[in-house]
Every structure is written in C-alpha cells, then in structure tokens.
Symmetry: C2
Subunit: 348 residues, 2 copies
C-alpha cells in the first residue's frame, strides 16, 4: 500500500522480506553482550543490514518520485503504481517461497495454506492505509500544505503511543522525550516556506490530522502485531497474505480515484523507465519495512525513515540543487541527536 | 556587564546576589533524598527560588527593552545604561553588606578588604564580556542578522564545553545530547524571517562567531570559577569586586562607542521611566545570575535563560501581538523537552 508515498513522500508502510530466518522479537532495548552467543550476534547483524537497507531504499524513493514527474506533474496514475508495487512485492514473496520449497520442501511454517483464524487479520493494515489515504485528500482541503507537512509528523507520536498500548512494549522516559524531539526535528526540516505563518487552523482540521496520524500509526503497529504473532511463520508467507490484501485495496483506490483515467486510457499510461525503477524501489523498500517490523520494530522503522529523509535531502542537494535551509540544517541536527538519545536512553 | 543584553537580548552575564548564605557547590546532579537533612532541602529551596527569579527577571527583560525603544530606536545611550546597571548592582551589594555588618559585625568572609591574589581574577569576566561585545559589532558586518541570531546560540555549546574543561564537572552523554538539542531548539524558535535563506557565509564569519561564543562561554564559566573558588566568602563581597570591574569596563565601552554622544549631550539623555525600570530589572537579574552561578551552575543558567526566552515570547504574544510562528512553536517543544532530558539524563 504505497499510495501516500508517491503523493507525499510519507514513510509509513507495511512491506515484506524474503529472508529465510524467522526469529523472535529483537527489540531495540536488548543489547548484544560480549558473552552473548553467535546466534545473538547474527540476529543483530541481520537487524543492522535490514535497517541500513531500509534507510538507503527509502532515501532513493523521494528522489525517484521527483524524477518520475514530468514538468512537476505525474503523467502516470499514482493508484495503478501502488497496485503494481503491491503486486511486485507479492510476486517476489512467492518467488522466495518457491525457492525455499525446492530446497527445504513444505513445512508447517512455509506453506501458503492458512486458517481463517490466521488470515482474518491480514486485510486490516491494508484497509487502514486505504482509509488514511482517502482521509488525506479531505485534510488537504482544510489545512494549508505547510501546516499539513508539519502535522503529518504526528504519526511518529501516534506510532509510539500505539506501540506502547498494542504491543505492550515500554519506552523509557528519555526515549519518549527522544521521540517527541524526533517528531519536532522532522517538522523543523520541513520549515521551508511560509514559516512566518501562524498556527491558525480549524478544530476540524486538527481533529482530522490527529485521526489520520492514528490510522497511520495503527496500520504500522498492527502490521508488526501480525508479523510477530507467529514468530516461526516464514515472513514470505506473511507478506504474501499482506500483499494480496494490499492488491485488493489498491484496486479499490484505483476505482475510487482514477477509474475514469484507467478506463479511458490505458492502465500503464505515462509509465516511463523511471516509473518502473521507482516501482521496483518501492517494492524493495516495502519488503525492507516488513523485515524491520518482524525483526526489529516500529520505533526502529520511524527512526530509519526519518534519517532516510535527511539522506534524501542531502542527495537532492547535489542532484537537484535543493537548498539547505536553516530549518533543514537545524532539523537534521535535532533528528540525529534524537536517534542518539533514543539509543543511549534505554530502559534502566 | 550588560552591554549585549540591551542590544541583543543575549542571556549570558555575570551578576550578584544579596543572600546571607555561603554554600558549597550544589550541582544539578545531586538530588535531595528523602533521608536527606533539612540543610540539604534548604539548599534546594534556595536554588529553586533563585532559578525561578532568574527566569522571571530575564523574561521581563526582553519586554522592557522593546518598551524602552521609541519608534524602534534607542533614544538613550546603551553603554551608559550598562554602566548604570553595573553601578546599581555594585550599590545593592554594598547595601546588603552594610546590613550584614550591622547585624553580624565584620568577619573574615564578609569584609571587603581582600588580597591581590584573590582580586586579580575579578576583572577577567568583565574584560571577556567587553571583548565579546566589541567583537559582536564586527560580526554583524560579516553575517546577515538571521544567521547571527541562530549562531549566537552556539554559546550554549561553548558554555558546556568550557564548563567541562575549566570546572571539571561532567555531564552525562544524554545531557550533552540535551544541550545540543537546547542550542538547536533555541535557534529554531528564532527561525522567523529568511528561513529560506541558505547557509552561505564566509569562513571568517564562522570563525568570528565561534570565537565570540567561546568568549561568551568563557566569561560565564570564569565567573562561576571565581564565585566558587572561595565557597565561604560572602557572595556580596564577590559581587562587589566583580561589579567594580564591570563599571570600569563599561566606562571603557562608553569611551569606545558613545564618547561623542555622551560628551555632546548628557549622560542620561533620552532616559525615560521605562529606561529606569529596565535598568532596575537588569540589575536584579544580574544579581540572580550571580546567585545561580554560586549556588547552581552555568548549565542551570543556560537552561533557565532559554526557558525565559520562551516565556518572553508568550508574554509578547499578548502584549505586542507577537506571532507564534511554526518555528517558534516547534522550537519551544524542543527546548522544553531538552530541559526534561537534561534533568532525567543524569550521570549514571
């Protein structure tokens, strides 16, 4: 479900991975001890690789989105792109599974067949993203764009709160403070234009933004719940089911938003090679997000994607002559220091 | 030495107090335990009162400076004002001492007479502030004003570094991070105009800003060194000597900057009742700063004055219709959370 990524470079997503390992939760609060087993270290290595992959893939995402536009406009249908991303992730998950079946044969954990009881929760994240994305269009009618850019960082806070409530995992007081700083820091980087403008928006606008942040955070946290509920279940099987429903709800979005365009023209109208690369990139980062959710958690994802946002801007600086504003420079410092505070400020 | 306060609402200062107690260092890292003695609690009470006084006095300072201007210009000479502030602080210190002498008689700790060895260090802070204030005029010729507003917050970092080096007091890693966030947060609150502008300034400009931040930090930390070197020495005696040299160097500043004005017109030209109230306020906040330096430390001072800056803005919002910009709102969140992180992130 990558709708809002194309339109807003938002970072919350569910995704998938094609790794063979199925492991228990490796939350950030655990540190590898020198006396730890090699298994413990290999878990950490996997986690680091996945986080770096997510950060790099997300960083290039924003740049590909800019490149994919022609004269600042999308020539292609964004909703069909999202559908293609879901389909590609689904296909990649099946490929990874096929390889595994050939090598290891079928097991309880890698077979696709499932019970209704297990599969019933899989549509939920996709449904939440769909609602969130539709809500977004209405919000943009009520809020000015710069305020919206700032307020959508509230999903960082909502993710933290829902992570605490739903996943029952604790953050230390300092980590909560770091999360607030991260949210504020990300907003500061976006203080580009109209920063003289004052906070005056309708109560309605605020309520909708908070509701959207909750939907977004809930979708992320719920994906983590699903992926961790059956720790031994192969991630590709879990991804397959997530993406099947992702495809279904992307199709719904096409009908709602771009039905006329798709009917009158062709599904792939306006696609260029950049569009194809962008879809590939988004599918891979979706898979990385899914792995981060399974092997790390939503908080790690939030920090990774925030750092990715900074990397994107630095790359853009060289590629597109993006200006490093005071706001961006100060916000970057705040984001980076927040990451440090989060890491150091573990539960005591 | 209040020169730059009038011109830039800067917050670093040495000052004095008229309290009878002379106490050992009460650094922030000590917490009152439930089993602690009442002495420990009374020290804490004193510290809290002094910090609140400093924050409130500093908050009203900025507002009085705005009020004291006529059509946005200073009608009076800023350097003579600074001289008056030093003289008033000196006078108040003598008054407090006179009262003490009448009640307690002369003791080793409250007599004004001193050794050359003790007094030789007292001109140093005043001299450092003079150099810093002169440097400031040259810097403003090399940097644009918004960039200068942002970069002068670097004195928060320089204070931390010099506090560590000179006073040998440790901050935890998290407290260092909080100090960086505080510096960035204060800068963000000032992102009002030209925030689209990019960081392009000469190497020379940067070097001068860093040198100025070091002078400013050094002056503050050195004042703390002087006040704490003889913990039992009455603070009013210490203040007396600090302010005597403050008067001397203020007089030097008058000669350098406003000699013509003072000669051609009168010393008190352009003074209004607001100017008098402002001088009184600055003298009292100077005394509060001195007490914070003696009974708490420079780090506490840096946090207090940053919070005071936020309080000033909120008061200005009601008094002068100051706009709460996105930058100010986000910066305030960052500053407040930094204070929290600093308090919680004590040395473990």
């Amino acid at each position: 479900m990558e709708h809002r990524k194309l339109k807003n470079q938002d970072e919350d997503d569910n995704g998938g991975g094609n790794d063979k390992e199925s492991q228990k939760d490796l939350s950030m609060t655990k540190v590898p001890t020198l006396g730890g087993t090699t298994v413990h270290w290999s878990k950490w290595k996997l986690k680091i690789i996945v986080i770096v992959a997510l950060t790099l893939l997300t960083s290039s995402q924003g740049i590909l989105i800019v490149w994919s536009k022609i004269n600042g406009k999308y020539e292609y249908s964004v909703t069909t792109c999202n559908f293609m991303v879901e389909a590609l992730k689904c296909g990649l998950s099946i490929l990874a599974l096929a390889r595994m079946w050939r090598i290891e044969g079928f097991t309880k954990d890698n077979r696709l067949s499932t019970t209704l009881d297990e599969v019933i929760v899989y549509p939920i994240p996709a449904l939440l993203y769909l609602v969130k994305n539709l809500l977004q269009y209405y919000i943009l009618e009520h809020l000015d764009a710069p305020l919206y850019q700032i307020l959508k960082n509230l999903n960082i806070i909502s993710t933290g709160i829902l992570y605490r409530i739903i996943l029952k995992k604790k953050l230390s007081n300092i980590q909560w403070a770091a999360l607030i700083q991260l949210c504020a820091g990300c907003s500061v980087t976006q203080l580009k234009t109209n920063s003289d403008a004052v906070f005056h928006t309708s109560v309605e606008g605020w309520v909708m933004v908070i509701v959207m942040a909750l939907f977004s955070g809930f979708a992320g946290v719920y994906t983590e719940v699903i992926l961790k509920k059956h720790p031994s279940r192969n991630i590709n099987v879990q991804n397959f089911w997530l993406y099947i429903f992702g495809m279904v709800f992307s199709a719904v979005a096409i009908v709602i938003q771009d039905f006329d365009m798709v009917v009158n023209m062709r599904f792939f109208y306006g696609y260029s090679s950049i569009t194809v690369i962008m879809i590939l990139n988004q599918a891979l980062s979706g898979l990385a997000v899914s792995m981060v959710m399974k092997y790390a958690d939503n908080i790690v994802k939030v920090y990774s994607t925030s750092v990715a946002m900074l990397v994107t801007a630095v790359i853009s600086y060289y590629l597109f002559g993006f200006h490093l504003t005071y706001g961006f420079s100060l916000g970057s410092v705040i984001v980076v220091v927040s990451v440090y505070i989060h890491a150091v400020g573990k539960q005591r």
